[in-house]
């Protein structure tokens, strides 16, 4: 008997941890991983609602499924770009990539 608010809170915390990671980590791979954490937080939300929410139905899980797939695709593209970037710049330090500015 876990109240849904706990799931939601957990999701919120994970979301914010992910966000914090995006904002502060310097390794680009970790930054991408943080994005995944955020998406996972959303998934927790959806699944929690889908299963013990006020209007529990399967849609939330379907949504989650889509999000997982998209996230995977996004990671693939993200890493591809990351690799291309690394080839060009020899660095995966976020801070180094400030060619485009002002």
């Amino acid at each position: 008997m876990v109240p849904i608010t706990l799931y939601l809170s957990l999701a919120a915390i994970l979301f914010c941890v992910g966000l914090y990671g995006v904002l502060t980590r310097r390794h680009l791979v970790i930054v991408l991983a943080s994005v995944e954490l955020m998406l996972n937080a959303v998934n927790i939300n959806l699944v929690a609602f889908s299963s013990i929410g006020p209007y529990a139905d399967i849609t939330g899980q379907v949504f989650t499924l889509f999000i997982i797939s998209v996230a995977a695709a996004e990671v693939a593209v993200g890493l591809a770009i990351l690799i291309a970037l690394y080839r060009n710049r020899e660095s995966i330090d976020v801070i180094k990539h400030d060619l485009l500015r002002w």
Binding site: F49, V70, N88, H97
Partner: protein
């Protein structure tokens, strides 16, 4: 209700475009990895135009299982987007001609996939489809932005785009998750029916999810403070992709903002409406001010267009904030979108031509353009004048309509901000014009010959800009009376 016995013919254009995109991709496969393939571009344009025609033929009203809507709104936006993508591809043909290191077939395919995503977005009446459409568009855009993979700027722009775009998606989803959780449905229409009572029960959460979604959508349409990515990505991307981002992404984004906010968040009897119009108004204000002020300081034409695009997004927010009659605001936005698409793409066609010729993105590559190619310089001026909102261009009428709609809603102060910032924008738009007309060409710049594709694009855009500027009735009489 069920998807099984739905009228699938409503999806004809999407299906056709999807198939054509795959066909084009397959043809590309079969014609070798590298090499110039201009026919692919032509085919893509034809595919898009055919789809646009199909969209028009297929107009009317209907839904598939409450998740896919075909109505005037989606028809209109789809046509705008498809034509926009077609023009972008026409511009790309020249760009790809000049850049051998870019894979041609993939480029066009991704454009078509993005267009498909945009179409899906515009038509969707369900958060899931909407999300899928959005991501299809976004992921294609990420790839396109990084398509010049040996270019340091291009990849840097792309990685910024991916990371921030992914985060923005997470925000949208997080907002959506609450909407779903509290209503048990992902259908926009169903949500809209309960949102008012939901708001009474959980005001905090509802407003928070609205704001989260606004943040995510705001990222797509690049409004302040969610615009930070835009200049970098615009600058880094291959120029046609910049055009694509500033037009197709943005207009598609506006379409879903309209769809979501005007369908879902209006609430019955506009209960919810008060909760976000003023936020939009504030965002619009900040967007117009920041966009235009930063643009004042730019020396790079693509960056300039990015900030100008931010400002333009601010203008487009004004009718959303100033709702007098929702369908009226939609008309205003659609008209301005049409105008914006043609003016911006016309400008980008010339920017592509000029920057590819000189290899530089800064203003000075436009120096003395009038002497090198008078037609292009004049056309560019018309587009810039249109973006600045000066008379005898469609931009003037579009802006004027926004002003009038703001006035009707009594939001004169917003119109005021918009107008004053527009005047500020004169400064940088005319700065480019000054480069073209009042400066001498760079010593090694010779007469500029425009390829056919660019000429055609520019001419079409020019014609639309001027015709809609002088006789806007052609369009407006029709738009203003549609019940969206």
């Amino acid at each position: 209700m069920s998807a099984y016995n739905a009228n699938w013919s409503l999806m004809t254009p999407e299906i056709v475009l999807g198939i054509l995109a795959l066909v084009i991709f397959t043809i590309d496969f079969m014609t070798g990895v590298k090499g110039k393939k201009p026919f692919l571009g032509r085919m893509s344009i034809i595919a898009l135009l055919v789809t646009a025609v199909l969209v028009y033929i297929n107009r009317g009203a209907g839904t598939i299982a409450d998740i896919f809507i075909v109505d005037h709104f989606s028809t209109m936006f789809k046509i705008i987007l498809l034509v926009g993508v077609a023009i972008v591809i026409a511009i790309s043909m020249h760009y790809l001609d000049k850049n051998d290191d870019v894979y041609q077939g993939e480029f066009y395919s991704l454009m078509l996939f993005a267009a498909l995503g945009a179409m899906l977005m515009v038509s969707s009446a369900d958060l899931i489809t909407l999300y899928i459409g959005l991501e299809l568009l976004s992921i294609s855009s990420y790839c396109l932005a990084g398509f010049k993979k040996h270019n340091r700027k291009s990849t840097e722009g792309a990685i910024k785009y991916v990371v921030l775009g992914g985060t923005a998606s997470a925000f949208i989803l997080y907002g959506m998750s609450f909407l779903y959780g509290l209503t048990g449905t992902t259908s926009i229409i169903d949500i809209s029916q309960v949102i008012s009572s939901l708001y009474v029960d959980y005001p905090f959460i509802v407003v928070m999810s609205i704001l989260f979604m606004l943040a995510g959508f705001g990222f797509k349409i690049s409004i302040v403070p969610f615009h930070m990515w835009a200049p970098d990505v615009y600058e880094g991307s291959p120029t046609p992709v910049t055009a694509f981002l500033s037009v197709v992404s943005k207009i598609a984004g506006f379409a879903i903002v309209l769809r979501v906010f005007f369908t879902t968040f209006l609430g019955s009897e506009g209960v919810l409406y008060d909760e976000w119009t003023w936020i939009i108004a504030i965002i619009a204000t900040v967007t117009m001010i920041v966009g235009n002020l930063i643009a004042l300081t730019q020396k790079n034409i693509k960056r300039l267009m990015a900030y100008s695009g931010v400002a333009q997004a601010g203008y487009l927010l004004v009718p959303i904030a100033a709702i007098f009659i929702p369908s009226y605001s939609i008309g205003v936005i659609i008209f301005y979108s049409i105008v914006y698409v043609f003016m911006t793409l016309g400008a980008f066609a010339i920017i592509t031509l000029v920057t590819e010729d000189s290899g530089r993105d800064d203003f000075s590559s436009f120096s003395g353009l009038y002497k090198r190619s008078p037609y292009m310089a004049i056309a560019m001026s018309v587009f810039l004048l249109g973006l600045a909102g000066l008379p005898l261009t469609a931009g003037f009428v579009g802006k004027a309509w926004i002003f009038i709609s703001a006035a009707q809603a009594g939001m004169l102060w917003l119109a005021g901000v918009m107008f004053v910032t527009s005047v500020i924008s004169f400064y940088y738009y005319f700065g480019v014009i000054k480069q073209m007309f009042m400066n001498e060409p760079n010593p090694n710049d010779v007469e500029l010959k425009a390829p056919l594709s660019i000429s055609v694009v520019v001419t079409i855009a020019l014609a639309v800009t001027i015709i809609l500027g002088v006789l806007p009735g052609l369009m407006i009489d029709w738009i203003a009376y549609i019940q969206w």
